[in-house]
């Protein structure tokens, strides 16, 4: 167990060292992709009154199974709230229970909520997602993803909560999707917007840099934009990067090299669908396939993170 004084980055780096892995498994369940034996729990028609409860039950069983087989391969799980909100209150319940289960297995829980609001609403979100009220997601969440668009007063309540409670933030700087360029690459006085956002992230993180040189305020930097990622690393030498986009979205582990700090520190890499729903070989059961996919992804990333260790 982490002590209350350990910073988020220190806890993360300790897990990376212990597991020889910086893999994050994204928990993005969709009913139609569940393995047959789990999906068979859903007997109602989609949209029927009992459907949400049955799918929530199936999600819970599936995700606990996933966690069991990746617990020594990944350092963190990253449930995305969208896939749970789809089921309403029962979805929020299974999200919270899944996060609690993962945390009890020693995994870091990153709530991929991409929230972004202002003033006292931002404070409410910080309580909801990083706070300590029993039965809420905050009590079992170690970090949260955030939009930067509303500026400093939308971020500060999260910075305060994170610093006080040894938790972490990941601010969207450059996302992994094709249309990220619509806004994030706009030219702002000779520099793309994402660099200006990176400047803000550095400022927001200055007050929470620990003795390891890493801040509680990290950045989301997509693996699909390696050149942009390298420039962001120059601007953010103290930020942990959460890197999505490897696997189904087409980002390659080899592209990650410029993102790591010395010693392969400061980066965690997320894969979701390629691990949750891998192509199975012959009569392989789904848990074996999930584990095999997680191991292969972990190994491919480790070969880039610490090439001399190979």
């Amino acid at each position: 167990m982490a002590t209350s004084r350990e910073t988020f980055s220190a806890r993360l780096e300790r897990a990376i060292d212990e597991k020889n892995s910086c893999l994050v498994v994204g928990l993005d369940p969709v009913p139609e992709s569940l393995p047959d034996d789990v999906r068979s729990l859903v007997r109602s028609q989609a949209g029927g009154a009992a459907w949400t409860a049955q799918v929530a039950l199936a999600f819970g069983i599936f995700l606990e199974g996933v966690i069991d087989v990746i617990v020594d391969v990944a350092v963190a799980v990253k449930p995305n709230t969208a896939f749970f909100e789809r089921l309403g209150a029962v979805g929020w319940d299974v999200l919270t229970r899944t996060a609690r289960y993962a945390q009890r297995q020693g995994l870091v829980v990153i709530t991929d909520a991409k929230r972004g609001d202002i003033g006292h609403t931002a404070t409410a979100y910080a309580d909801a997602l990083l706070g300590n009220v029993p039965d809420t997601l905050g009590a079992v969440s170690d970090a949260v993803t955030l939009h930067p668009f509303t500026g400093s007063d939308g971020i500060q309540p999260f910075v305060d909560q994170a610093r006080d409670r040894g938790k972490g933030l990941f601010i969207l700087v450059r996302t992994s999707n094709p249309s990220a360029k619509d806004i994030q690459d706009l030219d702002c006085g000779g520099r793309p917007l994402y660099e200006r956002v990176a400047d803000l992230v550095r400022r927001w993180g200055e007050s929470s840099i620990g003795s390891d040189g890493l801040s509680a305020v990290g950045a989301v930097v997509g693996a699909t934009a390696p050149e942009e990622g390298a420039r962001i690393r120059d601007l953010l030498p103290s930020a942990v990067f959460l890197v999505p986009g490897v696997g189904a979205q087409g980002g390659r582990p080899a592209d990650l090299a410029p993102l790591f700090l010395d010693g392969g520190r400061g980066v965690i890499v997320n894969a979701s669908r390629s691990i949750l729903f891998p192509t199975r070989v012959e009569s392989e059961d789904w848990k074996s396939a999930v584990r095999r996919s997680a191991l292969a992804t972990r190994d491919a990333i480790e070969a880039v993170r610490l090439p001399s260790a190979g």
Copy 2:
């Protein structure tokens, strides 16, 4: 009841005409501000195991009471998800039940979720917040607020869902908080970023402009930045504006004038805390105070919206 063919903007404008009001009441409940007789339902210590359930019960009773006394004064309610997520799954449940209650009273429900994600995750959010699965928020939500930061592919699933189901979107263009300037006012090739976002909102909304000239894709434009709002109106002649920031945040009704389209159309104005938690006069009960505050806000806005009608 609206027919399935009626667009979101047509439904909204019909309500505005019928009620002589473009007021939206923001449903942002906080435990410590509840009226005494409602707050007395919360008997557990904050953070105790029963606390979330008791607060959710109190929120439900309080918000139904608010809805009862503003139903003929406001056209819409705008619950912000943050204040409900604070309570975990029971909060999500009371959020959904409150939205259902408001919709049954004939109010438009705008879910202030400020979501923003990519690809198939954006599709999941569009299902969650505008879809038709029973027991989910989408089934009782008429519109949703969104972040533009991830660009087109993060918005398109919502545009499709809104157009197909007669629902609406409000994209953050210029928010009402002091630090909105950190990013939204950055100079992008001689124009502030919020103007570039407005250009995108216009493009995203082109495919859903109805016979009334209004699109399903609207904009969030804070009342605290009237000059910026006027420029955004020039760029977005077909967008409904959702205008927060009146009341507790300091925006004045007089500043709204340049935002309205001809005939006082195309704008809805939100107030939250100043209506939910008004200063009470003498022995006034809380419902009377809420209604009085809503009426005063409605009248102040109407004097600007349709000055000749006064």
